[in-house]
């Protein structure tokens, strides 16, 4: 079985709101000191799902694909250290100014080029744009079924069996391969990379590709191919003033809080 996992490099989603900044004129996040670059957490979990499938099946070829900057190398190296077999890095100025549509196009073209792929795994949403578009977009372009919000993925007699989250429950969905699955956080913990594998991965070459390598034209990708325009990026305003309640004991604090809420007609 051949599996491709799409992994995106993003600014650490756990950065504190108090240090996070955007440059409104540039419509971009400010790379403040200490803001690490990481693999989007759901994508790490997608790698974990691929590794679990390989454990289950005894063998599977796992490729990583990322579209981004040169800096994304570090992120895919980490994926290789976890046990992926190879990695493709799509870097090209022609991709600049793209959107979910152009990203899905480029990733779908890379998956076609890799060839013979049975299963594509993505995160349910990237933790920078929080959008959840690219996964289903790739599936539509490739013409394969997509199953979203996976909590558990198994292969049973050549068919895919996915337990997917519905918010207030879950459902079990079967799909023929090839297919695409978007992975949700319920799949749980990801395994750590071993030091030995990390050293090995550091020396492993990556395949770097451009739009031309994917036989995509300038009109397909980047700003020219995008379906939307980013007009503004801002930090949301927050004008709430917190009134800290004082009290000597939990009982006194509790009584004060209930009093306040009653006086404000909230209770």
């Amino acid at each position: 079985m051949k599996i491709v996992v799409c992994v995106k490099e993003i600014p650490d989603p756990d950065i504190a709101a108090s240090v996070f900044q955007v440059d409104e004129a540039a419509r971009a996040v400010v790379p403040v000191p200490g803001l690490r670059s990481v693999a989007s957490p759901f994508d790490e979990q997608a790698i974990e799902v691929a590794l679990r499938l390989r454990d289950q099946l005894g063998s599977a070829a796992i490729s990583l694909v990322t579209l981004g900057d040169e800096t994304a190398k570090a992120i895919v190296k980490n994926g290789l250290a976890l046990g992926a077999d190879d990695a493709y890095l799509l870097v090209d100025e022609a991709f600049d100014g793209g959107d979910a549509t152009t990203t899905a196009r480029a990733l779908a073209a890379a998956i076609r080029k890799i060839g013979g792929v049975d299963l594509v795994l993505t995160g349910r949403q990237a933790a920078d744009d929080d959008a959840g578009i690219v996964g289903c977009g790739i599936a539509e372009i490739l013409g394969v079924p997509a199953v979203t919000f996976a909590m558990d993925v198994a292969v049973d007699g050549g068919a895919l069996v996915v337990e997917r989250s519905l918010g207030d429950g879950s459902e079990t969905v079967e799909a023929p391969l090839p297919a695409l699955v978007t992975v949700s956080h319920e799949v749980g913990k990801v395994r750590p990379a071993s030091l030995r594998e990390t050293m090995k991965a550091a020396r492993q070459p990556l395949t770097v590709g451009t739009a031309a390598d994917l036989e995509l034209t300038a009109g397909d990708v980047g700003a020219a191919g995008a379906r939307r325009t980013l007009e503004r990026l801002a930090v949301p305003k927050n004008d709430v003033r917190c009134e800290f309640l004082a009290g000597e004991s939990p009982e006194a604090l509790a009584a004060t809080l209930i009093e306040r809420l009653s006086a404000a007609r909230i209770l």
Binding site: A131, H185, A226, L230, V240, E243, F244, P250, L257
Partner: protein, 329 residues
Amino acid sequence: MSNPVRALVVAETSDGQPIPLVWEMLGLARRWADETGGAVHACVLGDGLDAAAVALAARGADRVHRIASPSLSPYQADAWLPDVCAVARAVGPAAVMIGHTPQGADLAPRIAFRLDAGIATACNRASWTAGRLEVTRPCYGGKAEETVSFRTATAVVTVKAKCFAPAPAQAARHGDVVAVPTVLDAASVRTRVRGSRRDASAGANLESANIVVAGGGGMKGPDGFGMLERLAVALGGAVGASRVACDLGWCPPGRQVGLSGKTVAPELYLAVGISGAGQHMAGCVNSKTIVAINTDAAAPIFRYARYGVVADCHALVPALIEVLESKAR
């Protein structure tokens, strides 16, 4: 905002009726149509659904496309796609509006790619500027928000719950309800649902509750949630949780509030032992009043709270229950 705005609202239903978020989308679409002389279309797919179609007309849809077929229920993306796309192509709306729910988030991107339309998900504001739709949506885990416009004649947007005023029901209002035959070819449905589990206790009342008591890592374990449950009963509210608490199995995943959980906007949101990460706040910032209980006075939750109590919740919550219960006696 000069050109007449035509919008198509895709109605998700539950127990035969549109979910409340559909009224919020209709409210928005109706406002656009009234201000520009446009029109509101709605489509509803499933088995039967006469009552839902009538309700959509009563809440502001000028035309309801009712597509009834047993193959369309329960929802499956593969089954719904051909019909929703067919209606969208026939109507030619400026915006296809879909609720940002697990179902809508599964459906919307596929519709956008089939229609070759621009798409934005989880929108919480929308406006027309010089005849162009601009939507605003949270990103970077709620730490930023972006405003985007579209380069395609039709845009697909998923709308976040509790961000827009719902359209009121007007019993006397009648729109056209048209029965549209399904275009679905059963062979195009590649997926098959083997079974499903509904977690009835998980938080069905969470999104509609006036008071939500939510617990996080500070609850320290399932017993902490037992205590919150009692506080919720004393307040007449529902229990919510942070992802940390759900991931650790202290309470069911259906109680999760936030970016990858539910969106709530109660009168009172009492955050107990919750740090206030942007991804959590994305699900509750629209609450009328937020109250935070946290041992750490520097916790980000206090930036959103109207009232703050710096205290150990394991001492404060029992004291709150005592005050409320003695008032009730």
